[in-house]
């Protein structure tokens, strides 16, 4: 039906987009893995980060890629503060409460964004947004390629942080055994907040990588967070390699469904997979066996 280079290029496009999906899923899976909560505010934080990028580009004239380190720090601080001073205290030790608090937080953030930015869809224009890299017969969008590379690097850094540093060890300790961790002197509330901050920081990176190829409006995060949930379920709740592999896979599925069935139906493939995984392998590809 389509020649090989066309299918190959669609697959490659999917991989590149999938890497950014993976980045969004990474924060979600990290927060789930440690805090054991599903963070409903994830999409809203992503939207906020995308607006932050939009403002940096539009008002300050900063290149979105240059904004990465700055926004990463800002969003780490926002995430840390949100967990330390809002979500944590409001939960009173009950996981059910946390779920509701993050849901409430997402509604608050979205509506603040709606009030400030209105419902308009906004985009940024960069010189390189439509530049391509030629690889044989394939024409690969530069912005996507950068996004892919950055997503892989950030995943690697996060993996390194969790496995090689003391903070990472503390995070893993809290994830495994909260009481035990606090008994050996780990400040559990601090680690919770650090984890949440890391989740938000990955979103800031994702937002910087997304804006050159995407648009932002106050509800945009929801589309991503649904995809991210699918990736987290597919990869296994709390698994970082799972999020990366799941993201790439979902990206390819979306791209190929789009190619063969039209863009209006592009997302159907994703949610069919979501349902299939829940039916057949609820622990996901890389999830711990129950």
């Amino acid at each position: 039906m389509y020649s090989l280079p066309i299918v190959l290029e669609a697959t490659l496009n999917g991989l590149l987009t999938g890497a950014i999906y993976a980045l969004v899923a990474l924060g979600l899976t990290l927060v789930y893995g440690v805090l054991h909560i599903i963070n409903f505010a994830h999409g809203a934080f992503l939207t906020a980060a995308m607006f932050a990028v939009w403002m940096a580009v539009t008002f300050l004239g900063v290149d979105p890629y240059v904004a990465i380190p700055f926004l990463t720090i800002v969003f780490f601080a926002i995430g840390y503060g949100a967990q330390r001073f809002v979500i944590g205290p409001a939960s009173h030790g009950d996981d059910g409460n946390i779920l509701l608090v993050t849901l409430g937080l997402s509604i608050v953030i979205e509506n603040i964004l709606l009030a400030v930015f209105r419902a308009d869809t906004r985009t940024i224009t960069t010189d390189y947004a439509f530049e391509v890299v030629e690889i044989g017969p394939l024409l690969i969008s530069q912005a996507r390629l950068y996004g892919f590379l950055a997503a892989v690097v950030v995943s690697g850094l996060l993996w390194g942080l969790l496995t090689r540093t003391d903070t990472g060890k503390a995070i893993r300790a809290v994830a495994k055994e909260k009481l035990g961790a606090s008994l050996v002197g780990i400040d559990v509330r601090h680690i919770y907040a650090v984890t949440f901050g890391l989740g938000c920081a990955t979103l800031a990176v994702a937002a910087c990588l997304l804006m050159p190829i995407f648009y932002v409006n106050p509800r945009v995060g929801q589309a991503f967070v649904l995809v991210a949930f699918t990736i987290v379920v597919l990869g296994g709740m709390g698994s970082i390699p799972g999020a990366l592999a799941g993201g790439l896979f979902i990206g390819v599925v979306e791209s190929l469904t789009g190619l063969f069935f039209g863009d209006s139906l592009g997302q159907i493939g994703i949610f069919i997979i979501f349902i299939l995984v829940l039916l057949l392998r609820p622990s996901g590809l890389f999830g711990a066996r129950a």
Binding site: N13, A119, V132, S141, G258
Partner: protein, 407 residues
């Protein structure tokens, strides 16, 4: 606003005598005192996916209201001024309906606008419940004037007329160039407007000798059209016909440029970008040689030229929404003047009997049959060297078609 003097002067002269008579005939209570302003509902989507089109429409209506007021308001109603009651349709039919309800409760005499077919359909239906006159600006769906609503008038051409004119023009442009184009791919937005148009094209284009290789639907808004362009590259058609709104058309044109897909021609039908100065200005390379069959003003009319200058002076862009809404408000003002009343039934009657020629579109005097202005028709345009030119019909054209765009 000094620029406005020329067209206003002419209109003022035409209506001056009527005004004097009207003032004398008016009951003493109206004389001397400023008559209460007449509220005109202007409905446009100024947030959401269609925000940009809505802004153009609102600007056109604003200019028209200022123009009518500067010329002395509605003469037969003692020079009553028009006052805009604006409603944001937020790019969806539900919001359009809510805003019409609000305008109704605020006592508007009529509603003008809507832009998208879906919004126009829902909003005019709501207006019909109150017998409130509704003038459709752009919404092309033929359904709009096929429901037997006595309150709904469409000044611009409907879908059937647009499609027929677009295909005839295309066939003639192709013939004149020695028929270089045989194969076509349709790219359409998946709403009422694009899907409806695609259906008509699938029936009509084969009759004109074009072979349709594929029909591709895209959602509004679309974030990425690489897949669509990949399909185009694989199909390699002579012609690409996009029926999409602004954002998607720009994305499509830029992605085609990126992926080096260069068909012999891109011919939009009622396209949202190909005849928008913003697109041409921001992405001249991607927009170059794109053709479009669309609503357009009559470049020969002095009032149209004055409107272009006024829009430029006010720092506004230009696309067809602006002159079209400008004319729709003028149409209403003319009807109000002839009705000599803000009574809805009388205004509806006056609109139905309208033979108004003072607009800026290439239509001739208005003549409504079942709510549709019979003389309304689109023209074919092409982006040439950074400007939008009329290439067909020859009667209005200010440039010759460059087709095929690439050998």
């Amino acid at each position: 606003m000094t620029i406005w003097k020329t067209p206003l002067g002419r209109r003022a002269v035409l209506k001056g005598s009527t005004a004097a008579l009207a003032t004398l005939a008016a009951p003493s209570i109206l004389r001397g005192a400023e008559p209460a302003p007449i509220k005109v509902g202007v409905l446009q989507p100024i947030t959401g996916a269609l925000a940009m089109d809505g802004e153009f429409g609102r600007t056109g209506a604003e200019f028209a209201i200022a123009d009518v007021n500067a010329a002395g308001g509605i003469k037969s109603l003692g020079g009553a001024k028009l006052e805009m009651v604006f409603g944001d349709a937020r790019s969806n039919p539900e919001a359009g309906t809510q805003e019409v309800e609000r305008m109704q409760s605020e006592g508007v005499v009529a509603v003008v606008g809507g832009f998208a077919s879906g919004i126009c359909l829902a909003a005019s239906q709501t207006a019909a419940r109150y017998d409130l006159p509704y003038i459709v600006d752009v919404g092309v769906s033929d359904q709009i004037v096929q429901r037997g609503l006595k309150n709904t008038f469409r000044f611009g051409p409907g879908f059937g007329t647009c499609a027929r004119t677009a295909f005839d023009n295309l066939a003639r442009i192709n013939e004149a160039a020695g028929k270089p184009a045989k194969t076509v791919v349709l790219v359409h937005e998946d709403g009422l407007f694009g899907s409806g148009l695609a259906k008509v094209m699938q029936q009509e284009l084969p009759k004109l000798g074009f072979e349709i290789l594929d029909t591709i639907a895209v959602p509004t808004p679309s974030r990425d059209l690489s897949n669509v362009v990949l399909r185009l590259r694989s199909l390699n058609p002579d012609l690409v016909i996009p029926s999409t709104y602004y954002g998607e058309t720009v994305l499509l044109a830029r992605t085609m440029q990126q992926q080096r897909v260069r068909p012999k021609g891109v011919y939009g039908v009622l396209n949202g970008a190909a005849s928008n100065t913003r697109f041409v200005k921001e992405f001249p390379e991607a927009a170059d040689k794109i053709m479009d069959c669309n609503h357009w003003y009559d470049p020969r009319k002095a009032a149209a030229q004055a409107l272009i200058k006024a829009a430029a002076a006010a720092g506004k862009g230009w696309n067809y929404n602006l002159p079209l809404n400008y004319s729709c408000v003028g149409l209403l003002a003319d009807a109000l003047n002839r009705a000599g009343s803000t009574d809805r039934a009388k205004v509806n009657e006056a609109l139905a009997a309208s033979t108004w020629a003072d607009h800026v579109m290439p239509y001739g005097p208005t003549k409504f049959v079942d709510g549709q202005n019979q003389g309304a028709a689109p023209v074919s345009l092409q982006v040439q060297e950074g400007a939008i030119r009329v290439i067909y019909p020859e009667a209005f054209s200010d440039a010759k078609p460059i087709f095929p765009a690439r050998a």
